[in-house]
């Protein structure tokens, strides 16, 4: 009988791997709070859980249940995947399966990559997580491969090469699983690369399609690049896109232009610093919105696109919220890319005089005009942006977007760029690239913002910038971590800090929550690393020494912490 069932399952094309889950499971990830199956806790990437067992009234009783050592001193930015009592986490060189009840290891899959690889990784030797489907776990390797691992045994099932470190590419993102393809992007915007997005067949790793973000000769958009500049024009795709199954559109962000010095690539430079709405079957771009045409400031707009339905000007809109690195909070119509809102959310911004709502284009400020003429300037926000890679969350309960945000300027002097293998291709004078902090002000704020105005209903300042994601819950809480090690819970309504726990190293990870046997747990990675830790102590800056001192005291050491209420 069993044989017959198995046979029928195979004939029907159903997976027979133990612990398998389906596309429908992924689609329902938001509703099924006993698992976390997708990056962003749902294809819409709201990073919101309706769970309310842990809430503003009792979060003070939150205690650690277990700590799992990753045996790794690199930065830990990985979001866990949780399925049927097993947690899957990644580091730059390993994937771990952990029994959620006990915190014990089930299997570990170690990855080897060439020791030369870190030469072309600008912003931290990290990995941001895995994706799963039908008993397969998908992840990328730092040296440019996409691999599938059995969720049951940890064995590698297939490996496909996406990019080469010899060309300046690396990979750090979590793949996106859609019904049509497993989708991945690349890092390398500072190393003379040309960004692209790939589709892979989940069962075999067969390459289905590639979409270069920078159009080649003969393709629409190539005319926005002078000469051969398109070949090394950047536009990396290093953060996972979101997906709307009803519209069948993937929303993928694209990064900075290369070199940073934009005078060497005059033109809009499609499709740098954009949100691309794409078909997952082919990679076809259905619409695009470009935030900073000809961007000179490293304003990658790879960060999450949050898909929510909002009432705007009396009309229900299928919206897309993007807290942009360029300092503006955007709301687009995700059916067609129409610009609905663009409001400044940082205090200090001098690169533009606003966004022209008719054209959707930023208006160059006098400062930017001076820089384009070759002058040295201090630009706000600096290259770290108003917000960097760390994902924001959205609570339908409060209607607020919760994001760690930055108030950091940067010295900027354009010089002639030099394309040298294995080195930065930016075309600015690095000795002038100091960070600027305003005297007497914080330079990092957790903000609860109205997406339609960009205004913060509340904000909490920090001495060392937060570099991790946020998560909002139905319990009226916002979770995030500090690089000084504290994992914290805030009241989602007013920003009051309700709880914190020192995790030992700095937090730059992405919290998740879920239930096991009806009990709510919260998990986050601890382990300092990433771009701020790399560059803030290195380049220093004005009003920065105290920050550097506090930051450099934090010790590395990767682990995962899981919390629950004290019984």
């Amino acid at each position: 009988m069993l044989k017959r069932v198995l046979c029928a399952a195979v004939i029907a094309g159903m997976p027979v791997v133990a612990g398998a889950q389906t596309i429908d499971d992924l689609k329902n990830d938001v509703a099924t709070t006993d698992s976390v199956l997708t990056l962003g806790m749902g294809w819409d990437q709201t990073r919101y859980s309706a769970l309310e067992q842990i809430n503003a009234d009792n979060v003070g009783r939150l205690v650690p249940v277990w700590n799992y050592s990753l045996g790794d001193n690199r930065g830990q930015e990985s979001q866990p995947i949780v399925h049927k009592g097993v947690m899957y986490v990644t580091t730059h060189d390993a994937t771990h399966a952990i029994d959620v009840k006990t915190g014990r290891n089930i299997w570990v899959n170690q990855i080897e990559y060439p020791p030369e690889t870190p030469r072309i990784v600008c912003c931290g030797i990290v990995n941001r997580g895995a994706a799963i489907l039908d008993g397969r776990l998908f992840r990328v390797t730092l040296d440019g491969n996409v691999i599938a691992i059995s969720t049951e045994t940890g064995e590698e099932l297939w490996r496909s090469a996406a990019a080469s470190i010899d060309d300046g590419y690396s990979m750090t993102l979590a793949p996106l699983v859609t019904p049509a393809a497993v989708i991945t992007g690349v890092s390398g915007g500072e190393y003379g690369t040309r960004g692209f997005i790939d589709g892979w067949e989940p069962t075999t790793g067969r390459h289905l399609w590639r979409k270069y973000v920078i159009p080649g000769p003969g393709e629409k958009g190539n005319e926005t690049w002078p000469g051969d500049t398109w070949k090394h024009g950047g536009a990396p795709t290093w953060i996972t896109g979101s997906y709307d199954p009803e519209l069948n559109l993937v929303y993928w962000g694209t990064g900075n232009g290369g070199p940073w010095n934009a005078e060497f690539r005059k033109g809009d430079n499609l499709y740098i610093t954009s949100t691309l709405a794409m078909r997952p079957e082919t990679g076809e771009i259905v619409w695009h919105y470009q935030y900073s045409p000809n961007d000179p400031y490293d304003y990658d707009e790879v960060g999450e696109n949050i898909l929510v339905d909002l009432e705007i000007d009396g009309k229900k809109r299928k919206a897309l919220i993007h807290v942009a690195r360029n300092g503006y909070l955007y709301v687009l119509d995700r059916t067609n890319g129409e610009l609905l809102r663009a409001n400044q959310y940082v205090k200090h911004l001098n690169w533009a005089d606003g966004i022209d709502m008719k054209t959707g284009r930023p208006i160059d400020s006098e400062i930017t005009k001076k820089m384009r003429a070759g002058e040295e300037i201090v630009v706000w926000p600096g290259a770290f942006g108003g917000k960097n890679w760390f994902p924001a969350s959205y609570s339908p309960k409060t209607g607020l977007v919760y994001s760690n945000t930055l108030e950091i300027g940067m010295g900027y002097k354009p010089v002639e760029p030099k394309l040298v293998k294995g080195t930065f291709y930016v075309g600015i004078d690095m000795s002038k690239a100091l960070f600027y902090l305003k005297e007497g002000e914080k330079h990092s704020y957790l903000r609860g913002m109205d997406p339609l105005t960009g205004k913060a209903k509340w904000e909490v300042g920090f001495d060392v910038a937060n570099w991790g994601g946020t998560m909002a819950t139905g319990g009226g809480l916002v979770f995030t971590g500090a690089q000084t090690g504290e994992f914290m819970a805030f009241d989602a309504e007013n920003g009051k800090k309700l709880w914190q726990f020192q995790t030992g190293s700095g937090i730059i990870g992405q919290p998740v929550t879920y239930t096991i046997d009806g009990v709510q747990y919260v998990t986050v990675a601890s382990g300092i690393g990433g771009a701020y830790r790399n560059y803030f102590p290195l380049l220093g800056g004005v009003n920065a020494p105290e920050v550097v001192e506090k930051l450099t005291k934090v010790q590395p050491g990767g682990s995962f912490w899981t919390f629950a209420l004290l019984k």
């Binding site: 293998k421 290195l538 450099t552």
Partner: protein
């Protein structure tokens, strides 16, 4: 000149010759060229003028000045450990390594 002195000269001759051969190898590096190479390949981890807190990469200002071969080996082959460093032996030539060593010896104060 006594036979003893002649003997001494005969012994010293080859030694001096060897030293003459060795000297250019360690002195051939140009600190100025080294600085240019440093600003291309090394600055992004080790910092402008070698100034960095030691949080991301080894503070080169503390590198022992008598440890040339260790320096060359570290840059060529990379380093494991807390401040892991990738190898550069496939990109940097022997001469370029000498220039980098010459610059490293300035402690970034060129």
């Amino acid at each position: 000149m006594s036979a003893r002195w002649i003997n001494r000269l005969c012994l010293a001759g080859p030694l001096l010759a060897v030293m003459a051969l060795l000297a250019p190898a360690s002195a051939a590096g140009s600190a100025e060229t080294g600085r240019e190479l440093y600003n291309t390949y090394c600055v992004i981890c080790h910092g402008p003028n070698m100034v960095n807190s030691g949080a991301r990469a080894f503070d080169l200002r503390k590198f022992p000045l008598g440890a040339r071969s260790r320096f060359i080996k570290s840059v060529k082959d990379g380093k494991k450990g807390r401040n892991e460093m990738p190898p550069w032996g496939d990109i940097l030539t022997k001469e370029e390594l000498d220039h980098l060593w010459a610059y490293t010896k300035t402690r970034g104060k060129l």
